[in-house]
């Protein structure tokens, strides 16, 4: 419980982060930047878990633990995505999304 800050304000922040992430994912032309946007989405979700746990069910720890899981899974996922991106870069010497659209009609 943070004094002077209500749950609505924190949830608003997390929603803003989420949509920044979505916007970045849809608009960025660089694969690394898209990956960073995904991280933002995940972080906003983790933030939601923690905040709801803290404000609504302070006697439980489920939300906090869940957010730790999300961080761990996100790290693994990021490592995987980076490996793919590096391999892709070796293959086509580019990280632009325009150059990777070969899987189409």
């Amino acid at each position: 419980m943070i004094s002077g800050v209500s749950i609505y304000e924190i949830l608003t922040v997390s929603t803003i982060i989420f949509f920044i992430g979505v916007y970045g994912f849809v608009t960025r032309k660089n694969l690394i930047a898209m990956l960073m946007s995904i991280e933002l989405i995940l972080n906003s979700a983790a933030l939601n878990f923690v905040v709801i746990n803290k404000y609504l069910f302070p006697e439980h720890l489920g939300g906090a633990i869940f957010s730790i899981f999300i961080i761990a899974v996100a790290a693994a996922e990021t490592a995987l995505a980076l490996a793919i991106i590096i391999n892709l870069y070796r293959l086509i010497m580019s990280l632009k999304t325009d150059d990777t659209e070969t899987m189409k009609f």
């Binding site: 979505v22 849809v26 898209m34 990777t100 009609f105």
Partner: protein
């Protein structure tokens, strides 16, 4: 007596067919002939033994020949009474066929070892012959109408395969196709007849169908159609099927063309066995034919038979291809058998016609097979089917000459050869029951003698042309078959047939009426003497007669243009005015609709396929828009 072993009779040829057919590249020429002939010899011995046991030891109970089910198993079950069975039935007529079919088939197998020498596909030929023998035996031993039909079609298929044996010859292919289509067209009538009978009688079983109590019951119950009992209509339809197989007018057109096949095939299938299947079928259902509507269907049988016998005899006089003469002669003789069945009564002496029909079937099988095999030996020696290329062959082919003469005397009805006895019985039966039919039969007896001896004198006497290759007598396998059949032709007339075969299966006594017999011998001799005058020596008497007859001769020579009429009906009327508009409708409207649906799908998908851009961001965009849209709808529905 347990007759279960009779299942071997059709199964051995079936095995031979599979064995030779599957190994036809591995088994070389003479071996397959020996295998096929050996297998058939076994079948023939079992068949003869069975027929002997049936007639003399176990068939007769209290003076009546029984219908024995040697083996019967339900194959397809519809209702309590209506089921399709597979089995073996022994009764007098199937026992008679058990002698005819394997005997002729064995002779043809033996003969073909010599005749088919050095033909490509020798083993294939024997495989087909075995298939045919299997089908024919299954047909004559059938326990029920539907089994008959199944084997009926199998017989048609093997006939098709054997007519088209020289499949590189276009005329053979056309003939095979014609035979199959014409008989198949007729079999459609047969099938409908079977379906009607199964609907009305609720059984296929021959034992029940030919039972008199059952027939009397059925007479009460069966409905009417156009003033006739439904069963009579069904019988007429079944007779159409029989007429197709037996080459009765107007479904006879396939038989002369079927002579494109190898000559042994003509002897076996298109003279002795398969073409009499129609006669056999009528005989098999004879009580039904006789009792429904006072034998209305039987009258049709008699008149179709009588017309065909006259019609074919007229054409036979004018033909030059010796196999065609024999083909028309076969048609004429089968017409005789049909006529005999048609004028028959039921029970005791009245059943003479039935007995005579089956007797003629038996003797005709012998002498017509002999004639065809003799013709095969002649063709083998001269390398031509046409009389014009022959003459004076009696010195070159002594054995063929004697056997051919015996067969020709037999078919002309000269005693003591087989044909005399059966033909005399037919004429006696016709004389008593149907006088106009008797007159036709009597005239045809004379014409038969004339055209057979025209053939005989033209081939063996006439003149002595110079042959390029000196004709030589056929090899032993062929002449042995000829001699055995000649002996059968001499001997089989003395069989007291009425002791074995009658419509009600009770033996009766038949005597030769020598007044009538004298008349029929007289007209036979008249025909022979006329042929002797015309054809003994080369002269232009026959030419002058031909011109005297003018157009009549021309019509007969062209087989009364029946083929042309068929062509006109099928090609001009059916194909052009019925099929062509249907084809147009099918191509334009039906296909057009389907093609339109397909093309529309292709066009739409070519437009929308661009949505798959390959960019994950686009997909994410669609996904998010969709989610937002759904959320908006939920939000709106919750709030308003």
């Amino acid at each position: 007596m347990d007759f279960t072993y009779t299942v071997l009779i059709p199964l051995i040829p079936l095995f031979m067919f599979l064995f030779l057919g599957l190994n036809y590249k591995r088994i070389k020429e003479p071996i397959s002939g020996y295998i096929g002939t050996g297998g058939l010899l076994l079948t023939a011995l079992i068949s003869f033994y069975t027929a002997f046991q049936y007639f003399f030891n176990y068939g007769k109970v209290d003076g009546v020949y029984q219908k024995i089910y040697a083996y019967n198993t339900v194959w397809i079950n519809f209702t309590e009474t209506l089921h399709i069975d597979m089995g073996i039935m022994l009764d007098p007529i199937s026992a008679v066929m058990l002698i005819v079919v394997p005997l002729i088939s064995l002779m043809v197998h033996l003969y073909s070892i010599g005749y088919m020498h050095k033909e490509p596909g020798f083993t294939r030929f024997y495989a087909y012959l075995s298939l045919f023998t299997f089908s024919m035996l299954g047909l004559v031993l059938a326990t029920n109408l539907f089994q008959t039909y199944i084997f009926w079609e199998l017989v048609g298929v093997s006939s098709y395969l054997l007519i088209g044996y020289y499949f590189e010859k276009p005329s053979a292919i056309l003939a095979a196709k014609k035979a199959f289509i014409v008989t198949r067209f007729a079999d459609f009538g047969f099938l409908i007849g079977i379906l009607i009978i199964s609907y009305v009688a609720k059984t296929f079983d021959f034992k029940i169908l030919t039972n008199l109590d059952f027939i009397n019951n059925l007479k009460m119950q069966a409905g009417m159609f156009m003033g006739l009992s439904v069963v009579t209509v069904a019988l007429i339809l079944i007779f159409i099927g029989g007429a197709g197989k037996s080459a009765m007018f107007p479904l006879h057109i396939w038989l002369p063309d079927a002579m494109e096949g190898p000559t042994p095939v003509s002897a076996l299938i298109h003279a002795a066995t398969m073409v009499v299947a129609g006669v056999f079928l009528v005989a098999r259902l004879f009580p039904m034919f006789y009792f429904f509507d006072d034998g209305f269907a039987l009258h049709i049988v008699a008149w179709v038979g009588a017309f065909t016998t006259l019609f074919a005899a007229i054409i036979a006089i004018t033909q030059y291809d010796i196999k065609r003469v024999l083909a028309f002669s076969t048609m004429s003789q089968i017409g005789y058998m049909m006529l005999a069945l048609g004028v028959s009564g039921y029970g005791g002496q009245e059943g003479l016609g039935f007995m005579a029909g089956m007797f003629h079937l038996f003797t005709h099988a012998m002498f017509k097979a002999l004639l065809f095999l003799g013709a095969g030996a002649i063709i083998h020696a001269v390398h031509s089917n046409y009389m014009q290329d022959m003459g004076g062959l009696r010195k070159h082919l002594p054995i063929t000459h004697i056997t051919f003469l015996i067969a020709a005397l037999a078919i002309s009805g000269i005693p003591p050869f087989a044909g005399f006895f059966s033909k005399d019985d037919i004429l006696a039966a016709a004389f008593e029951h149907n006088f106009p039919v008797f007159i036709i039969g009597y005239i045809v007896a004379g014409m038969t003698a004339f055209y057979m001896f025209r053939l005989y004198f033209r081939i063996f006497w006439w003149n002595n042309p110079e042959y390029k290759h000196k004709p030589h007598e056929a090899p032993a396998t062929m002449t042995i078959a000829l001699i055995i059949l000649a002996l059968m032709t001499i001997g089989s007339g003395f069989i007291p047939f009425s002791d074995f075969v009658s419509p009600d299966n009770i033996p009766f006594n038949s005597h030769i009426d020598w007044n009538l017999a004298g008349a029929s011998i007289g007209i036979g001799l008249f025909g022979i003497i006329a042929a002797w005058i015309f054809y003994k020596k080369e002269k232009d008497l026959s030419q002058r007669f031909r011109f005297a007859f003018g157009n009549v001769y021309k019509w007969a020579y062209n087989k009364f243009y029946i083929d042309e009429i068929y062509f006109f009906i099928t090609k001009t009327i059916i194909f052009k005015y019925i099929s062509a508009p249907f084809a147009w409708f099918d191509k334009q409207v039906v296909d057009g609709t389907m093609n339109g649906v397909g093309n529309g799908t292709v066009w739409i998908s070519s437009r929308i396929k661009r949505l798959q851009s390959g960019k994950v961001q686009d997909y994410a965009m669609f996904f998010i828009s969709g989610v937002l849209f759904i959320i908006m709808i939920i939000w709106l529905s919750v709030n308003y």
